[in-house]
Symmetry: C2
Subunit: 463 residues, 2 copies
């Protein structure tokens, strides 16, 4: 009898297992195979893509080297060492986790975990039955295809298959201008591929959580780097050619590419694991219904991550796992809260958002103010040759931090300053009085706090 059995050893599952162990629970994990420990994020998602993105970023920086007195004699790119380095990172993290779980006594059962009743998980096909006081479902999500664009790993790749690529494409078509699309567009472009990026909507990163300014800045830089961006455009049909694919786009044009990469969303893995059979209620779109403690309709069964909402981010799952475990332990101080989930995209810029955009604040009926400070005059950003971008801080009339949107250098780390303050319920006036080191990129955040608290510096305000 375990205190907790977790179905799925992805980000939420393994973070949850470590946290439950830390809190004194007897915990076990169920995961499909030794090769899938770590889930999508580790094996086919954020970890390998961030590795390749870092390589792309380093190549991107070459253009600045002359300003630092460094004259390059030229360079060549090769997929094999990039792939090897990337796969080594993934392998190391995965094996370290398994080794550590074994050392501290967290068993991992390999197979498909299926609920038999509210206290029993069956591991298939072995048939082993795991009994537990609590169960946490953390089964993640799967890639989707659209229409005739069915991934085959040859003409059409999805984000499960792209990792097997043995060479950089001469030319590729990316379908979907969301996080996956803009990330791979940058990666392949910097490694020398010609990239066509099509997006159905009228902007890149077409999420209501991300302000249009971020989309515009990113599109401008990707274009400058040579990415062929087609908005309001879809793939109408495609056909195999001797050396790749010919696709007809809705704008009437045709493109010939080595292959098509799909980045078009994911669906929750909630089928065939006994959820409905034991009475766990699902929403229409297949997500598990959970309350603010990540509890499902069956009180001792919890769910976290990609199966609880369309906000499919590894850290949302990791956070929800901790929320669920705290509640199992009788503590309710951490709650599910999608407003404080940072959304970070690593493309030609780092793009980070937390909380409400201005549009969302307006829709929710807030009287709001915005503090906008550019990275352009920031001394550290100038020193680093990366002074493009902005911080937009959205604040209610009462000074409540409603949201923050950063595009620019290290946005993915800087955003956490605001995440912490939002979670702590601190207001803009706090940010306007805080300390920052000089020169630092962080100055821009404190300046945005001052901007919104005191108003901008203008001649008009003076006497």
């Amino acid at each position: 009898m375990y205190d907790l059995v977790i179905v799925g050893a992805g980000s939420g599952g393994y973070e949850g297992a470590l946290y439950a162990h830390r809190r004194g629970m007897k915990v076990a994990l169920v995961e499909l195979s030794p090769e899938t420990v770590g889930g999508n994020c580790l094996n086919r998602g954020c970890i390998p893509s961030k590795y390749m993105r870092h390589g792309a970023y380093l190549i991107d920086k070459f253009a600045k080297l002359k300003d630092y007195g460094v004259e390059l004699k030229g360079y060549e790119v090769h997929m094999a060492p990039l792939k090897a380095g990337r796969d080594r990172v993934v392998f190391t993290i995965r094996e370290n986790f398994k080794k550590f779980a074994q050392q501290i006594g967290i068993p991992i059962y390999y197979g498909k975990g299926v609920l038999k009743d509210s206290h029993t998980v069956e591991v298939q096909p072995s048939g082993e039955l795991l009994r537990a006081k609590f169960i946490l479902i953390a089964t993640g999500s799967s890639t989707m295809s659209i229409g005739s664009l069915v991934p085959d790993g040859k003409y059409i790749y999805d984000t499960d298959q792209i990792w097997s690529l043995e060479d950089f494409p001469r030319r590729l078509l990316i379908v979907g201008g969301g996080a996956v699309g803009v990330e791979f567009a940058y990666i392949f472009r910097m490694y020398g591929s010609e990239v066509v990026l099509v997006e159905l909507k009228d902007r890149l990163l077409p999420s209501p959580d991300i302000p249009e300014e971020s989309s515009r800045y990113l599109a401008r830089k990707l274009k400058r780097l040579g990415v062929d961006i087609r908005l309001r455009t879809t793939v109408e049909s495609w056909e195999r050619k001797s050396s790749g694919v010919r696709a007809r786009l809705s704008d009437g044009s045709e493109v010939e590419v080595d292959f098509i990469l799909l980045g078009v969303g994911r669906k929750p893995n909630t089928e065939g694991i006994g959820l409905e059979e034991v009475g766990v209620e699902l929403e229409e779109r297949g997500f598990v219904k959970v309350n603010e403690h990540c509890q499902t309709s069956i009180p001792n069964i919890y769910a976290c991550g990609d199966i609880t909402s369309p906000l499919m981010l590894a850290h949302k799952s990791m956070y929800e796992a901790r929320v669920a475990i705290n509640h199992m332990l009788g503590e309710g101080h951490m709650k599910r809260d999608e407003r404080i989930v940072p959304k970070v995209i690593y493309s030609a810029y780092e793009v980070a958002s937390v909380g409400l955009t201005e549009d969302q604040a307006e829709e929710e009926g807030y009287e709001y103010k915005v503090g906008v400070v550019s990275f352009v005059p920031n001394p550290k950003a100038m020193d680093d040759g990366e002074n493009e971008g902005f911080v937009r801080l959205v604040v209610s009339e009462e000074g409540e931090l409603l949201g923050c949107h950063i595009l620019g250098p290290h946005a993915g780390e800087l955003i956490h300053q605001v995440v912490h303050l939002m979670k702590a319920g601190l207001k803009a006036d706090f940010l306007s009085t805080s300390m920052y080191s000089h020169p630092s990129l962080s100055e821009v955040i404190v300046q945005a706090g001052m901007e919104v608290h005191f108003g901008p510096i203008t001649w008009a305000k003076r006497h």
Copy 2:
């Protein structure tokens, strides 16, 4: 009659002028010359050195390129474009500030500002008298020489003179293993110079505010890069040679170098500006005595920055300027607080500290706990090929955040997460429940919070 006259347009002075203007005060600046606006930090300190350090960092990263599938054909370094790029950043910031001050109506009087009485500053040599309700002294600090090591800009450089260098030295001797010394050692080494670095004390960065671990890590990497570090060593004598300098060190050895660079501390600029004449009290070492509101012994005269304490950091001055101005406006909510001043060093690693080290916590009689988390297994750090370093979080028995010490990637930005939380009085349990994006470097900070709040994950803790 001005509301406020600020003597010195360095970091504290110009930040103070903008802040005072923002808060509705009629403010004027006095600065030696148009070329010194921005002070030491901008013209001869952190801004130009961070520029060169970024170039060094980019060269340092070349060693990792092969792991990202990038094969360099070689490179050459040239001082002229490095110097031009660096000077362009400094010039741009300085001119932008002057232009902006003019646009919004902040006059800058050029000359030496000398107090005539508690409400009057004389600009010398013009003799113009500026009357003000409040005066803020922000005159900064100057380089020092030691013994026979007197800077001449040919055989011996200090940090006022090093910027005129027209070429990289073949070999140089740096005296002082503090922030200046370790920064230039890294810069010159990466640009190809042979570097000997001598430090009187038994470690680099020999400040009680910086933990020994940071010194050790940094020394290890600098050595790996080929810097010849000599601890417990001084320069006993030196002589001119046909092509540079021969120096005899206290370890008995001799080194022949192109020149010597001094990085051995600074003294406050408090002489000859009328402080004592109008009754502003000084401490023994020449610092201005100020209270927690940065008020001197003359109630309407305030002081900020390098002249208030040996913690000579631009952002301490900028913060103190705001503290002083708030107090002039009858607001006392911001106070001088050296504990929340982040100290950031940019060398072969970024090294950042805020608050107490473990040794200091012990000296102050705290029962304390430490959460130590390494960057080694951090997925984002692994992706970026920069997973060396640590976060050390020092926390009282009651959970108070006493200090944080980060060595590793982007430490200079990451530290602000803890600066904000310390300032807000939040505790380690808050940090243990906050959200972070995955993968991010920031995870290490939240993990350090968990480590210190729940204790480390070990087999022993389990049941």
